[in-house]
């Protein structure tokens, strides 16, 4: 079992949902990123999604768009982010790290090279937003070959048959998008997203984490009642936007509050 599955199992055994925190790598700077990963871990994140900034993030709302622009303007690259992961591991931080992003930067490095280098740096798994079931096999093979976990996405528009096929490719958990929309939108109905997680868990036999539209501990609690994991992204990204280079303490506190919401 990889570190990602272990973290999900540990949360379950402690009767809580796993808390998964998204950070945009390189925002506000590559230098600040290791401390932010550690702050999330100290606050109680079970898994960190390290976003690889992309110039054209079509699945993201304004908060993560702006974070990506800041990161790219600050010189963030795939290689730079892998070095950040190495640094975090060297400092003894063991929080599972899921590399999260769009396909083109991965293609540009080369799928095999990326997987190998990511695994070596201490990355635990991959989640690629614009790589649906049909397009995923080449990267998924390389990812498995390098010993990385694979986390696919399921959307509200995904039928249960298709969700089952998607679930069969997951090795860490399945990420269920709570609504049709981009990241950072206000959730319309988290209770029904939680119901959907239960339904997906049954259909896929996998642990389901729910993301999009979860901002506060109370939101997390609604989802945690039925989902194995809770993902928070834009809310943390906004904290970093506000606090800048010294965001680590604020991130730690925010994550701790969210973690409290994840207890059942």
């Amino acid at each position: 079992m990889g570190r990602i599955a272990e973290a999900m199992a540990r949360a379950e055994s402690e009767d809580r949902a796993a808390l998964i925190i998204y950070l945009c790598g390189g925002d506000p700077s590559l230098a600040a990123t290791p401390a932010l990963i550690q702050a999330a871990a100290e606050g109680g994140a079970d898994i960190v999604e390290l976003g690889v900034p992309f110039s054209d993030p079509t699945a993201d709302g304004p908060a993560i768009q702006k974070a990506s622009e800041r990161a790219l303007a600050g010189g963030a690259t795939m290689a730079g982010l892998l070095a950040v992961v190495e640094q975090v591991r060297a400092a003894g931080c063991e929080v599972p790290i899921l590399l999260f992003g769009y396909y083109n930067p991965i293609l540009a490095m080369g799928e095999a090279a990326l997987c190998e280098r990511a695994a070596k740096a201490g990355v635990d798994g991959l989640l690629v937003v614009d790589l649906p079931l049909e397009e995923a096999p080449p990267l998924r093979e390389q990812s498995a070959h390098a010993g990385l976990d694979w986390v696919p996405l399921v959307a509200p528009t995904t039928g249960l048959d298709r969700a089952e096929a998607i679930g069969a490719t997951a090795t860490g958990f399945v990420y269920s998008v709570s609504m049709t929309g981009v990241t950072g939108s206000a959730a319309t109905n988290l209770a029904s997203a939680a119901d959907r997680a239960a339904e997906l868990a049954k259909a896929t036999g996998q642990r389901i984490a729910v993301g999009f539209g979860i901002r506060e501990a109370a939101d997390a609690a609604v989802v945690a009642a039925q989902a194995a994991g809770v993902v928070v992204g834009s809310a943390v990204v906004r904290t970093i936007e506000r606090e800048g280079e010294d965001a680590a303490p604020a991130v730690r506190d925010q994550v701790a509050a969210l973690a409290a919401g994840c207890r059942r």
């Binding site: 649906p132 996405l153 528009t157 298709r162 049709t180």
Partner: protein, 409 residues
Amino acid sequence: MRETLSLPPGFDPVTGRFGRFGGRFVAETLVPALDELTQAFFQAWSDPKFHAELDLRLRDYVGRETPLYHAERLSEAVGAQVWLKREDLAHTGAHKVNNTVGQVLLAKRMGKTRVIAETGAGQHGVATATACALFGLPCEVFMGAEDVRRQAPNVKRMELLGAKVHAVQSGSRTLKDAMNEALRDWVTNVETTYYCVGSAAGPHPYPLIVRELQAVVGREAREQCLAQHGKLPDAVLACVGGGSNAIGIFAGFLLDEVDLVGVEAAGEGLEGKHAAPLNAGKAGVLHGALSYLLQTPDGQIGEAHSISAGLDYPGVGPEHSYLLEKKRARYVAATDAEALAAFQQLTRLEGIIPALESAHAVAACGPVAESLRARGVTDPTLLVCLSGRGDKDLDTALELIGAQDGGAH
């Protein structure tokens, strides 16, 4: 026969790829919507009633067929017989309307209640707003803030037609950012909304749908060449932004022994800022498809530059990448300055003010004629897709021409 779709060479309907290019690199939320669209398109395309309605609209509303015109004074100037396929005479002034009338008809058939589109030059936005007015559907258009400035008359036209125009402030504030924003809207409102993509680009099935709707240009042109000129042309030229007018006219000649020449925007030159991914890009994934792209070594999308908003796009439709790698078509490029010169040349010699996009194709006539003569073709015949008229570009063009003249004094 059009009722049964004969698939383009190299196209696999299961993967949605032309050779290795194309596919469907989108968020999972959109996959079921693209499946629904694919199914609706194939059903419509095998329904004679759909074709009857489309053909009637194309004839009586769009004004098809558009003329094929022998440009004699231009012919003399470039040393070849130049025939212009007059898409500038289609309703709304560009080929874009062939696509939007078909897609909005499809949207209605699918029961969608809202249409969105991205636009660069504003021609596709105007054409979509027009089709939505015609069929009674609400329309919202995403347009880069930079293009809103460059193409102000088209913004006014869209608004007059009842469309809502969103000025997009992110990224380079041009066509690619407008498409990003349209995709974000679609992912949010996917249940009710039809996304009317403006070029032969984007995820499967858009490149197929748009090429089939634009293929009418090539079908007509081929028949007209035979009827008016007695033979096929030696070369077919078209400008390439996303690639819809080019693939539309190429589609009529893919199986003939005819040179197919796409003309990309070389902007300030291929060593500087340009919009020529087929000439100077690398394969990658943008807006749902694998195709040639302007990008950095790190896989970030490069910023395109062209004098012409409709060509100012870092990607290109996947079928063109396929035709390039198969060597079935070749792709050259014309600079801003060359396009501006051709814009004036066609205006003065023929009394036709072309769109700056189309002026790129006109600019390539001389060099293509020369290459044909070098291969031993005496008095070559060139068929040029005059994709649109230039009214929308007058401000931009006059400003640049004024600056040139001022500099010369």
